[in-house]
């Protein structure tokens, strides 16, 4: 309890609270602009956080992270264009509801559902992160190496799609992380005589490039495509009804909120699973419930045509992922998704080591982050209700052709501010090109980011573990001396084998079907 009180005390500093609120407002605005998302917002804000004290910077980022998903639901409901990927399903029923003159109710359901999911997720963070961190303090080099491997395997395994591309992305990230002095011998690797690379590729410009510049290049591509297709701006329904949802609606949505929050929380804790998996699972589950209990009754629309549960399910699931994705980060130092990987960047900029040591070295900051998630979710409710009308009007007046160069300039100036060097701008531009090209090639970014974040630690732990075992790799699967490591390695193998087995089974079934059809014909 004293630790929670410490977190509250740190957060209740008016300036810290102020930055949390600024983060919430900025998150609502950024999330509500189609094409922008929390990754871009972080890419812009991380360099700015240099000049802030750690508590201010982290409070700002917590607010930003929590509010982006709500922001994304605004254009999803108003014009059926999801502001963020996590609101892609909200657009279906949300926009149908708005078109039928109930835009206020749709937005109100989205906000209330997000806040509910967010609060449950904050409680999960509060309950699980500290004991897991205490357990992780027992880990040595061997367990930490295996943990890093498990983190990457889970990201690759849960991404879906090509395992080869996931592995390529991870190996590329690990290789880039080797650039600079070797931690064991001090030998410069892949520096090509460039002084700025001796300490490794500068982390902040790398993140800014991979997230911010890549997104700018994609937006720029989208602008050109829209112009070629002659797309006209969409008309927007007006908010004429109340934003507040009544008690009967709250009672009706409560089971959906609980189920989807549970799904979101479980998925959030698993590194790599991500918001999209949570919203699809939640939406699918609640669709059955809706069809069983409400569909076909008088006044109830069909599923996908304005059902309140169709908004409540994805919104509570996506916000339930937010704080719970911080559980592996704060307890084990493994980011749950790309945004929490950026959180690692923010902590490292402030000279802190993410993971269990954070609770020992900076308990005020660790507990402040946990408490900030809870407070941010509570504050988000009144702030969102107060601002949603203004934001929904403002967003559609922002011309994208001004937005794109503005984000570019913010990102590149932020990269410059890392070391006050043009070299950092170069790193951001190159990282942006790599990010854009790899995305077009269908190579997932999550393993790359995780490998960049964990690369040095993994190599360091591997070297030290092999020194202990006199070069024997058996140390990682030793059931007597290192049972935890064995479990982690088996978990990693299971994550990697999962998609391979599923893929083989699908190919086998497809071959069988083809053979049957040939026999029939």
């Amino acid at each position: 309890m004293t630790e929670v009180a410490l977190g509250f005390a740190t957060l209740m500093d008016p300036a810290v609270l102020g930055f949390l609120i600024i983060g919430i407002v900025a998150g609502l605005i950024v999330g509500s602009i189609p094409g922008l998302n929390d990754n871009i917002a972080f890419a812009i804000f991380i360099p700015l956080s240099f000049s802030l004290s750690p508590t201010y910077a982290l409070a700002l980022m917590v607010g930003l992270y929590c509010a982006c998903a709500i922001g994304g639901s605004i254009p999803a409901i108003m014009v059926k264009v999801p502001g963020t990927a996590s609101s892609v399903l909200t657009a279906i029923d949300g926009h149908a509801m708005a078109r039928s003159g109930r835009a206020g109710q749709a937005l109100g359901i989205a906000i209330s559902s997000s806040v509910f999911g967010g609060i449950t997720s904050s409680l999960i963070l509060l309950l699980f992160a500290p004991p897991m961190a205490a357990f992780a303090l027992r880990f040595g080099y061997v367990e930490n190496f295996s943990l890093g491997i498990l983190g990457m395997a889970s990201v690759i395994g849960l991404l879906g799609g090509s395992v080869i591309k996931g592995l390529l992305s991870a190996v590329l990230g690990l290789l880039v992380a080797t650039i600079g002095f070797s931690q064991q011998t001090g030998f410069p690797r892949y520096t090509f005589g460039v002084d700025n690379l001796y300490e490794g590729v500068p982390f902040v410009p790398l993140l800014v490039g991979l997230f911010g510049i890549t997104a700018v290049l994609e937006l720029s591509e989208e602008l050109i495509r829209d112009r070629r297709r002659g797309l006209a701006p969409r008309d927007m329904p007006r908010i004429t009804d109340s934003l507040f949802i009544d008690w009967s609606m709250t009672k009706r949505l409560l089971p959906s909120w609980l189920q989807c929050s549970l799904i979101g929380n479980v998925i959030g804790i698993i590194p790599g699973a991500g918001m999209l998996m949570a919203i699809y699972m939640g939406y699918e589950r609640i669709s059955h419930r809706y069809k069983r209990l409400f569909a076909g009754k008088p006044g109830e629309p069909a599923w996908g045509e304005g059902a309140p549960e169709g908004i409540a399910a994805p919104e509570s699931a996506n916000n339930a992922v937010v704080a719970s994705s911080m559980v592996p980060l704060l307890s084990l130092g493994i980011p749950g998704n790309s945004v929490s990987a950026l959180f690692i960047g923010a902590l490292m900029i402030q000279g802190m080591v993410p993971g269990p040591l954070l609770f020992l070295d900076h308990p005020d900051v660790a507990w402040m982050i946990i408490v900030a998630f809870l407070v941010a979710n509570v504050l988000m409710w009144p702030i969102s209700f107060a601002l949603v009308r203004t934001i929904s009007g403002l967003v559609f007046r922002l011309p994208k052709y001004v937005l794109v160069p503005t984000i570019s300039l913010l990102c590149l100036t932020g990269a410059y501010s890392d070391e006050n060097s043009v070299f950092s701008i170069g790193v951001a531009i190159v990282a942006g090109i790599v990010g854009y090209v790899t995305r077009r090639l269908g190579i997932p970014h999550a393993p790359l980011i995780l490998a960049l974040v964990l690369g040095r630690t993994i190599e360091d732990n591997l070297d030290n573990a092999l020194n202990i075992s006199a070069g024997s790799w058996g140390i990682f699967v030793d059931p007597i001396e290192h049972p935890i490591s064995l479990v982690l390695i088996l978990g990693a193998a299971a994550f990697m084998l999962g998609p391979i087995v599923t893929g083989s089974r699908k190919r086998y079934q497809a071959r069988r079907r083809r053979a049957e059809m040939e026999v029939q014909s």
Binding site: L48, V171, L175, T185, F187, L223, P405, S408, N420, I429
Partner: protein, 154 residues
């Protein structure tokens, strides 16, 4: 040859090239620091070859198109070119605001085909000055500004 149009095939070969080149460079490192990067390089090379091989087997491999090339050239490639020139201008000591204004103005004007050129130039100036103010004045980042502007601000 359909496979020659496959993006996966060529990207696999590119990754294989990067991996094996990195491996050759790693062989020049000292004996205690080469094993880890050399192993990763070999893995990257082999995974690249695996991707290319898979593209050869997959008849539905992703292929490029002419419209995509046009969009990339006029969108992302031009954007990168403009910002690279801006970075070179900073490096050459031309200050921050002037090159930033020029870059933003160019990027805005190429998308709009109306008569409000003055308005768009004002937008560009607002963006350049606004970002400069955020970093230079609020966050105290010593941006490479021309001497007279620094004197003016200080």
């Amino acid at each position: 040859m359909r496979v020659l149009k496959s993006i996966d095939f060529w990207s696999g070969l590119a990754f294989a090239g990067i991996g094996f080149s990195a491996g050759i460079i790693a062989l020049g490192f000292d004996s205690s620091s080469f094993l880890y990067p050399a192993t990763l390089s070999a893995a990257l090379g082999l995974l690249g070859l695996a991707l290319a091989a898979k593209a050869c087997r997959d008849p539905a491999a992703k292929t490029g198109d002419a419209e995509g090339t046009h969009v990339i050239l006029w969108g992302p490639a031009l954007e990168i070119g403009v910002w690279t020139l801006w970075a070179l201008a900073l490096w050459a000591g031309l200050g921050y605001i002037g090159p930033a204004f020029a870059a933003v103005a160019f990027l805005i004007l190429r998308h709009v085909h109306d008569r409000h050129v003055r308005l768009h130039l004002l937008q560009a100036a607002g963006v350049a000055l606004g970002v400069f103010a955020i970093f230079y004045a609020i966050f105290q980042v010593p941006l490479p500004e021309l001497e007279f502007i620094r004197d003016l601000l200080e």
